[in-house]
Each structure stands twice: as C-alpha cells, then as structure tokens.
C-alpha cells in the first residue's frame, strides 16, 4: 500500500502541493481528479521520485521513501505512465519495452504475454521507432513499458488523453484486468469522468494543491465529484 502524508511541494517559491494526503491500496484503483493545474501531476511526480518533496512523507509498503531516487522506487515496484507519455523517441518499440528490464531480476527479463494481449498494436510495431508512433499508440506503449517492470504500484497520469474511444475502452479493460490480478495498487489521474467512474474504487479530488474531497465510490456520489470539477 502507498500512503502519502501531508506532502508539500514547491516549484521555486510557488507551492504546488499543500499538505496532501492520499492512499492507494493494492488490488484497488484509486482515482485522483481535479481541474487543470491543481497539482495532480505534481503529486505523482513526488510519488515516483521525480520531484523532491518539501514536507510530509510518502510511505510505500510500510517504508518511507524519503528522498530515494526514481530508479530505486522503480526497483521497489513503482511504475509510472507519465502525462504526455514520454516515450524514448529514438528507441524502437521493442527497445522501449526493454528499458523496463533494468529493475527486475534476470529471470524476469522478458516481455510478459499479457502486454501484447492487452495492446495488440504493439506487437505489430515492435521494430518502429517509438517517436514515430501516433499519440494513442504511444500511450499504449507507455503502459506496456510500465508493465514490463512487473510493478506493484502503477501510477497513470491521464492515460486517456488523446486516445481513440476504442483504445480508451481497451485501456479501461486493461486496468480492470490488472486490478483483478490483485497484485497491484493503481493510482490513476483522470479528467475523463465517465472513464474514471467506471474504474475507481476510491476517489480523491484536488483543488489548488489540496485534497478537497475523498472517499470510496459509494461514499462519494458521482454528483459530488462532478461538482468539484466544475469551474
């Protein structure tokens, strides 16, 4: 289980996160929502270690992560699908997937079949350069790449952004399938409410760097979530 407690984060002097606390449990999808610029991405970057936090702590599987670098967090089972995908453009699709070998045991260094089952396009495109793929293809690659590290926490930042409906459905199915495996905590940032609603076990809503509402799907009616998202 991942637990962030009272996290503060600054860009220069501007505070992007103010005492944010959130939990993501294994086998569940935790969905973080909020309008543009409220700090969702910032929180995720704090969790994966791309941005140091100024206050609070982030605890993963009982141990505080402190200031450990991203690659150590990856080794401890945290995988990240960033906003904007961040595919390695000059690496082929296959090579992009293989970058996930770094934190895992030698015997696990193969691409699990379910990656191709979930995203069949990747199989056809193994030899093409990642940077040449279309946006939707890159998004699938980014998720696939994260899965190669066999994560126990999957952090996804707006995975539906710019993706065609059928693939959104595929991604939705993929996330569901991953949840059903029960081995993985999934932290999902999403703007697309219908999509989030279908997947989320628990919700958290952010505004201006703070969590303004949180609770399980049942506790938080969809209307109350929506209300927080209107301008």
């Amino acid at each position: 289980m991942l637990e962030a407690k009272n996290v503060d984060l600054y860009y220069g002097a501007a505070q992007a996160l103010r005492g944010v606390s959130i939990k993501a449990e294994t086998g569940k999808v935790t969905c973080l929502m909020g309008r543009n610029g409220v700090g969702k991405t910032s929180l995720l970057r704090a969790i994966v270690g791309q941005k140091p936090i100024a206050g609070g702590e982030i605890i993963w599987e009982g141990k505080p992560l402190g200031r450990s670098p991203s690659y150590d967090r990856a080794k401890s089972g945290i995988a990240y699908v960033p906003q904007g995908r961040e595919i390695f453009p000059l690496l082929t699709v296959k090579e992009n997937l293989e970058t996930g070998y770094a934190p895992i045991a030698r015997k696990d260094r193969y691409i699990p079949d379910y990656v191709f089952d979930l995203f069949p396009v990747l199989k056809d495109m193994l030899g093409r350069r990642g940077g040449d793929l279309s946006g939707g293809q890159q998004q699938q690659l980014a998720i696939g790449r994260a899965l190669v590290t066999r994560p126990r926490l999957l952090v996804l930042d707006e995975p539906t952004e710019g993706i065609q409906p059928s693939i959104i459905k595929d991604i939705g199915r993929a996330i569901k399938w991953l949840r059903e495996q029960g081995t993985m905590a999934i932290l999902l940032v999403e703007q697309y409410f219908d999509f989030a609603h279908e997947l989320a076990d628990t919700f958290a809503v952010m505004d201006r760097g703070e969590i303004v509402a949180s609770g399980t799907q049942a506790e938080m009616g969809s209307e109350s979530v929506r209300a927080h998202l209107t301008v």
Binding site: P69, S70, K75, E95
Partner: protein
Amino acid sequence: MRPFPSRLAALAIIALTLFGVLRPAFGADLTAQVNALGQGDYAALEKAIGDLAATGDPQVAPVLDALSNGDLYVRKSDNAVVKATKSGSGFTLTDPVTGAALGEAGRSGVTKIKVNNKIRGLVRSATGSLTLMSADPAQRRSAAADVFRSGDPAQIPLLDQAIAKETDPGVKKIMTEARAAAVLKSDMGDADKIAAIAVLSTRADQDALAMLASTASGPDGAVKSAAADAVASIQGQLKLWEGVQNIWYGVSLGSVLLLAAIGLAITFGVMGIINMAHGEMVMLGAYTTFVVQEIIRNSYPELFDWSLAIALPLAFLVSGAVGVLIERSVIRFLYGRPLETLLATWGISLILQQAVRTYFGPNNREVGNPSWMSGAFDLGNIAITYNRMWIVVFALGVFAVLMLVLKRTPFGLQTRAVTANRPMASSMGIRTPLVDALTFGLGSGIAGIAGVALSQIDNVSPNLGQSYIIDSFMVVVFGGVGNLWGTLVGAFTLGIANKFLEPYAGAVLAKILVLVFIILFIQKRPRGLFALKGRSVEA
C-alpha cells in the same frame, strides 16, 4: 698491431684482384685497409671505402655497415680502427674484421669516424656488390636493390654471375632489373638496351620511369623511341596508381579522423555534451602510451613490441577514469543545460592541458613505433606504411566494438534511454547516475585508446588534443549527431575528399575547400549526412 704502409696495401689489393675476387683475403691485409678508414678527411675516407670494396671480400661488408652506422672509431693510442659499443661511461672495443675483443676504452680514448650522407651512399652501393652472393636471400635482395639504384655498369659481370646462380625468383627479378638499369647506362649495343628497356618497363614504377626518361632524352634512334614508348606506358599506369594512392591516403586520413571523433560521437553525439575536453582525453591516452613505453624502455626493453598492446587497456582505463571523475564532479550538474557544458568542459580542458604541461613538461615526449608499426610494404605501385595500415584496421575495430556495445547490450540500450529522457529512464528503474558516468567514461576511454593510436603518428605534447578537437566536431556534425554510422562515413568522406584535393590544391587550400564543402553540404542536409529522422526529432 702495426699499420701497414698504405702503398703496400695498394699493392696487396692489386695482387688480390689478380688472384680472383672470391678468394678470402688475409686478415692482416684487410686490417690494414680497414685502418685506412680512420686516416684522414672525407676524401681519404671515400678512397679507403673504394679500396675496401674493390677487394670484393665478403668480410668487408660488415665493416662497412659498422662504418655507416657510426660504430667505427679510431683508437687514439695506435690509430687503429676499432668497432666500439657504449658500455657505461666508456666503450667496449672489438676488431671490426674478426670480431675479436680488444678490451675497453675511455670516452676520450677513441674518436668516432664521422660519416655523412655521401659516405653512407658509397657504403651502400659498395656493400650491394659485396653481398650480391650472400647466402641470405634477404641480403641478396637488398643488395640487388642497391645495385639497381646505383645502376653501375661495372657491376654487370657480377650481376650476370649472380643471376645465373640465383634460385629465388623474386630476387632474380630484381637482379635482372638491376642489370637492365646498368645496361642502359653502359655503352652496350642497341639490341641489349632495347631488351633492358623491356625489362624496366615491366617494373613500371617511378624508379624505372626516371631511368627510362633519361634514356628517352638521349640521342635519337631505336633506343630512344623504345624508351619513349615505355615512358608513355608507365606514365599511364602510374596515373591509375595515383588514384588508388589517393584513395588509400584518404582512407588512412579518414581512419585518423574516425579515431579522433569516435569518443566524441558518444559524449557529444549520444549524450549531447559539448565536450571541449575531448581532445584532452585523447591526449591522456597518448601520454599513457608514453609512460608505458618509458617504463618498458627502462626496465623491460624486450617487451617494446608489446608496448601498444599494454598501453591500450591502460589508456582506456586512465582516460575512462578521468572521464568518470569529470562526469561525477561537473557534468552531472549540467544535464538539461547542454550549452553550459561548453563552458565547463572548456575549463576542464584548460586544466588538463596545464596539468600535463606542469607534470610532463611542455615539450614533445618520445613515443616510438614498435617494429610492426614501422616501415612500409609495396602494394603494386603504392607504398603502404604499416603504421597507417594498422591504424585503419584499429579504427574499424574500435568502431565495430562500440557499435556492438551500443546496439546489442543492455548497457547500450540504457545509455540511449538515459540520454533521451533522464527522469523517465530513472522511473523505468535505470540507475541513471551510473549509466551517465559509465557512458561518459566509455566515450572518454575510447578517446584514450584513440590517443594510443595517434601517438604513433603525431606529437605527444600538451597541445595534442587541441589539434584534433575541431576536426572531431566537424566529423560528428557532418555525419549527423547521434548516428555512429554517420561518424564513420563522415570521417572517411572528409578524409578522401581532402586527399583528392591535396595534390591539386595544396594542403592549405584543400583544407579550406573541405571546410567550405562542409558548410555547403549542411545547407543541403541541415542535420548531417545520416540525419536522424522522424517526428520526434523535428519537434
């Protein structure tokens, strides 16, 4: 030993010649003649050499060799000519003819017999005729070559004898050519000369051309026209060879450029660091070679031929370690600020240069060529020097290994991922600091081994790096940043272009033209020869 009066010596020579050339002379007679070498000025020396040669005694050859090598001295006490080798502060003396030990002498006890180029030339043609009959084919070969060069008609009878006895076809050919050369200079009949021209025209090289050309400018007649024809045909062939030669020189220059640039193709091409200290990494490799050779020279001289093999891994380690140090202490704070790497690495380059200057001194250090890196062999009509050839082979080898590392190993993959997007690579679990350090270390290490090779053809001085840095950047950029194949093709293209221009435009203009060519070429292909393509690059 009492010196013979020289008149007596002269008499002895005449007597000996009458007895027949191949009869061994008496040691005593020879000794007198040898002693004549130390009796006067250059003119006297020339005469003494001529006299010795005229004995036709094979024992004379080593004596003359020693003379030419500067090993003959005059012992002051008795004016005897001795062979001296340095031992400690003095010399160990031996008899030049018999090789018998003659004891020691202090530095002031002997004076060297000075030789100059003219003397050396004389000695060479003299030993040529003396060793034509030697038992060693290599010696006969070089003797024949010497006779060929001197083209002395007086040697024709000797050559005829030698050719008759010769069993080695290669040597026989040279002897035949030597004979032809001599015939052309002799006053033999037209038929003989035309036959000689035919022999020489099959040789078809610059030397043959020179001999035929002087015949062709002689008096009119059948000989002249035959020579003129031969000249024309040789000139045609040489033209062709000139093209081949330019290509080879270009390839060789290209391989030097490749070596100089290949480390930069990693630190700059792959990692995006404008690495102005690259040249200094090359320099460190060259100095490593110097240190290795210095130790070998002082302690294990028999290992000298292995010096480069020993220096290679060491240079890789030294430059690589310095690279890692630089990356960890400076460069790592500059990722994402590529332009500032220019400033910092410039500073590093100044420091490294001055450090080497302070430690090793500002002067050139001597790095020798092992025997297998010295000299040349002929391929058709071009002389291929061993050092250049091995450097071509070496450059291609380094390139291949590097290509394998980057394309076929997990480390290569991680390197490419890290340099493309450091935070994301880290999130994929790649230990970016380690990969960064190792990649920069690899680039620097490769530069170091390039330094080992370059020490074989260039100065080893604190300025070594500076002289390659601009060319290296040109090659990497011309080939297309980030593409190793580009660096390879770029290096050879620029090398060959340069060498084709040089004979016509001269070295300076050729270099200018190549630079202009690069500028124009980049207009056509703004991202180099092997531009990276795709939308990611264009954004």
